[in-house]
């Protein structure tokens, strides 16, 4: 295994726009909002930036392709800007690019910004994607909820969980996230919900009802990274450093080889295993202080608890119902409200998750602040369960 990224790069500053139906703002406005907060937090001038990574998934909406949308919106000083896209892990990809550039010594200070302006599409959910020329001739005409909902049927079959029990467990996932999101002024959805509301909501894709699906929101988030040495030279202390960055991408095993049971994410288990090794974490259930995971749909979050080796296989639904992932539970999950309440502007989510982990590790999460977190983990899934990209990142107190 490579040497890894542990403690080689520190976060100098982060920013995050208000998420939601941002009828008032275009993608450039959102990027500026997140960027200015991050720059103020970092305490640097634009001329100190050496390179930038820009993530957006649906470039047809407002932002456009290439690096210029970011460079022009922020008036960057003609530095390198690289646009990255990797489904819902795009924001994490931008962060990886910036972190690796710093670790490689190619940049002293690097910027990562993600943006997505979903509410300019006219759709209630995600817009219909352009799948190329072959896929539409063979693949089902499905939606994101329909693809991820399939986890439920396979999970029930594999672990012998009844329809009612699983529906109640995934309802609790959403109830918990809404309770958390209500405390977050930057979250899109800020009303708590009851289990009854979740159970009785209109069906979107069996067994996922309306409250099992994350919000479709506009937003942007930004991170500025540097070496621990430079950070200290800039007057920073109690650094939050990067412990692990892992990415695992499907190679067709799940969709074409009869080895995958459909109940979990093959890639997530690989990425999580590598991330723990890179971060030096041996007992994740005890050592991970908090998580922001890819709860695009409630059932995704549920199986992810097992894929990240926090819950034993087949037991995740019980942990969820026991409140193990609630704000006051063993490993609080989605403290900021998650995709469920923050919303899911695709190219931003990875950075938005890191923003919450960073605030928590710095003790700046206000009403949501957890007691003494050491390691914060983020997790993104893009694509569909049978063909996906999974990123796992761990950040934490320097030297932990």
């Amino acid at each position: 295994m490579p040497q890894g990224i542990r403690d080689k790069v520190a976060i100098l500053g982060m920013g995050c726009s208000k998420f939601g139906e941002r009828w008032d703002a275009g993608p450039d406005d959102l990027m500026v909002e997140a960027y200015l907060e991050a720059m103020q937090d970092a305490g640097i001038e634009p001329t100190q930036l050496d390179a930038a990574w820009f993530s957006t998934h649906i470039d047809e909406i407002g932002s456009g392709k290439g690096g210029t949308p970011l460079s022009i919106a922020l008036r960057l000083p003609n530095i390198a800007v690289t646009r990255v896209e990797n489904f819902c892990a795009s924001g994490s990809e931008a962060f990886r690019g910036a972190v690796y550039a710093v670790a490689a010594g190619a940049a002293d200070i690097a910027l990562a910004v993600g943006v997505e302006k979903l509410k300019d599409t006219g759709y209630g959910g995600l817009p219909v994607a352009n799948p190329g020329t072959l896929n539409p001739q063979v693949m089902p005409n499905g939606s994101a909820p329909g693809n991820f909902a399939q986890l439920a049927s396979a999970y029930r079959a594999k672990h012998g969980v009844s329809k009612d029990d699983l529906k109640r467990a995934i309802a609790h996932v959403s109830v918990k996230s809404h309770a958390n999101g209500a405390k977050n002024p930057k979250a899109h959805l800020r009303k708590p919900i009851t289990e009854e509301q979740a159970l009785n909501a209109p069906m979107i894709a069996e067994p996922l009802g309306l409250f099992d699906c994350c919000g479709v929101s506009d937003g942007a988030a930004a991170a500025i990274v540097t070496t621990p040495e430079i950070a200290r030279a800039l007057g920073k202390h109690d650094l939050v450093t990067v412990k692990a960055l892992q990415l695992s991408v499907s190679n067709g095993y799940e969709s074409q080889y009869n080895g995958w049971d459909g109940s979990h994410f093959h890639t997530a288990r690989i990425a999580a295993g590598k991330a723990y090794k890179e971060a030096g974490i041996e007992r994740p259930r005890e050592q991970i202080s908090m998580m922001e995971v890819h709860d695009c749909f409630s059932v995704t979050e549920l199986v992810t608890m097992e894929d990240l080796f926090i819950s034993p296989e087949g037991q995740g639904w019980k942990d969820v119902l026991d409140g193990f992932y609630d704000a006051d539970g063993g490993v609080p999950c989605q403290i900021d409200g998650g995709l469920k309440c923050f919303g899911h502007p695709i190219g931003v989510s990875g950075l938005r998750m890191l923003y919450e982990m960073y605030l928590q590790l710095q003790g700046r999460a206000g009403e949501r602040q957890l007691a003494n977190p050491v390691f914060g983990m983020t997790h993104n899934l893009g694509g569909a369960p049978a063909s996906n990209v999974c990123s796992v990142a761990i950040i934490g107190q320097e030297g932990a």
């Binding site: 219909v128 001739q137 063979v138 499905g142 329909g146 399939q150 049927s153 396979a154 079959a157």
Partner: protein
């Protein structure tokens, strides 16, 4: 001894209640109340003349992978999806027939199903083909609140024609060609326009059909009294009996035209009635099938009691039935309602013809790959094998999935995505012997699908490109209700 070696049939699972139609239309057409009995077969939104013909042909051919013995194909329909594209070519690709076959579309008249069969028999008799496949399919169009809407049905039949012992031996053929226009349909793809019923019956059918029958029997060296099974489709009640009487055929030979249970499936209906007769005919019984249309076509067969019986046939197809009482759904499926499909239906369904051609066997034939070294089966076929323990390069041979048994691994019923029949069911289908495909599941209602459900593959319309008039086809999973019934029966024992 040229004849029919094997046969098959198909009727869509949905059966529209005629009562539901007449009640819905009573405000405008109270006179149709008399036709409000029974039900008619109703193509699902993803079925057309071509897909139904493919299903009938599969029934006739059986599940064997090797179809290299078929060297000619005739596809008959007056409702083929393409006016200029060889529809038989799509049928051929779906059935993974050899590229070297001769393929023909036969159309233009309600008797073209029997004409196609006659041409196939002639080709084999004349040594122009050794084994010809004939598939007739019809997806009939009628205006809302018309009598035709109640009379018509959708369906298909297929035959394998060879020279040698089979299920039925051809004894004779008779044809009459006369430009008697009882109805017509212009090339705008609109609806049939009919002339007066009494004129059609008395001046048309009764005068034009018997000469074709007499000629066929004369060639066969038989008399009308020799006929044991008389198949004659007509939407006019009692028409077959009238023709039988005019021709001198005994009344008890007149077969049920299935009007009560499926309606009349146009040019496919003569072939369907013939297929039905073959299921019932005993050895040496004489079957006469005739159909009217700008003259008439008549064929006489002697049943042998041998040959390959279909797994499903007409009887099996009619037994696999689901009543549909939602007339509005029928209208919508048939393009008779301008409805709000929502923003998700706005996507452009343009088909990349290059991609379609490059992947023809995969898309139309559901052909994947099997690794020569590891035996790993996969879909689609790729240069580098998906086997995690041996990603061998260029080791895959074509492997057909269409007739493999399969089951559901995971599924969802999706209300968000656009579907002509929401919720859209799809899921991961795993095949016995290896391989899996994420695919649409058709002919199901909420609650029908569960993990482990046995399914079989059916050839269906994938999407319709309304902007360009192109129909895209692929395979879908449907519950294997025969396997389910067997499993239930075994559990009960």
């Amino acid at each position: 001894m040229v004849g029919i070696a094997a046969w098959g049939a198909y009727a869509p699972r949905l059966r529209l209640s005629r009562k539901a139609v007449t009640e819905a239309n009573a405000w405008v057409a109270p006179n149709l109340k008399a036709k409000g009995k029974g039900e008619r077969s109703m193509a699902n939104w993803d079925e057309d003349a071509l897909t139904m013909a493919v299903e009938a042909a599969r029934d006739a051919l059986g599940p064997d992978d090797d179809r290299s013995h078929i060297d000619a194909l005739y596809f008959a329909s007056t409702t083929a999806p393409f006016a200029d594209r060889l529809n038989a070519g799509v049928v051929s690709a779906a059935l993974t027939l050899e590229k070297s076959i001769a393929a023909t579309d036969v159309t233009g008249s309600q008797r073209c199903g029997l004409t196609a069969l006659a041409q196939a028999l002639s080709a084999v008799a004349g040594c122009g083909a050794k084994a010809a496949l004939v598939a007739a399919g019809e997806h009939r169009k009628a205006r809302a609140a018309s009598a035709q809407e109640l009379d018509f049905g959708d369906g298909a039949a297929a035959f394998v024609v060879t020279d040698g012992p089979g299920a039925a031996e051809l004894l004779g053929r008779g044809s009459v060609t006369d430009d008697f226009v009882d109805h017509f349909r212009g090339d705008d793809g609109g609806f049939d326009y009919y002339w007066e019923e009494r004129w059609i019956r008395d001046e048309g059918i009764v005068k034009l059909v018997p000469p074709a029958i007499r000629k066929a029997l004369e060639v066969a060296g038989l008399s009308t009294s020799d006929v044991d099974h008389f198949c004659f489709p007509s939407t006019f009640a009692g028409m077959a009996a009238t023709v039988a009487k005019a021709a001198g055929i005994k009344p008890e030979a007149v077969r049920d035209n299935l009007a009560a249970v499926m309606g009349e499936a146009g040019c496919a209906h003569g072939p369907i009635m013939l297929a039905h007769a073959l299921e019932n005919a005993r050895e040496n019984e004489v079957i006469l099938v005739a159909q009217f249309g700008q003259g008439a076509e008549a064929l006489v067969f002697r049943a042998t009691g041998q040959g390959q019986r279909p797994a499903r046939g007409v009887t099996g197809s009619l037994a696999d039935r689901k009543e549909e009482t939602n007339y509005l759904k029928f209208l919508t499926f048939n393009g008779l309602v301008e409805w709000d499909k929502g923003m998700r239906a706005e996507k452009d369904n343009k088909t990349a013809l290059t991609t379609l051609y490059r992947n023809e066997d995969m898309i139309l034939g559901l052909v994947g790959g099997r690794c020569r070294e590891t035996g790993v089966v996969q879909f689609p076929r790729t240069r580098i094998s998906v086997a995690p323990n041996n990603p061998a390069v260029d080791t895959q041979e074509p492997y057909k999935f269409a007739d493999r048994r399969a089951s559901i691994l995971s599924y969802s019923a999706d209300y968000l995505t656009f579907s002509m029949a929401p919720p859209n069911h799809y899921g991961m289908v795993v095949f016995e012997g290896g391989g899996r495909i994420m695919m649409d599941i058709t002919d199901v209602a909420p609650g029908d699908v569960e993990t482990g459900l046995p399914v079989r593959m059916v050839f269906r319309v994938k999407e319709v490109d309304e902007k360009r008039g192109f129909v895209r086809y692929f395979w879908k999973a449907t519950p294997d209700r025969a396997a389910l019934a067997n499993a239930t029966a075994q559990a009960a024992e």
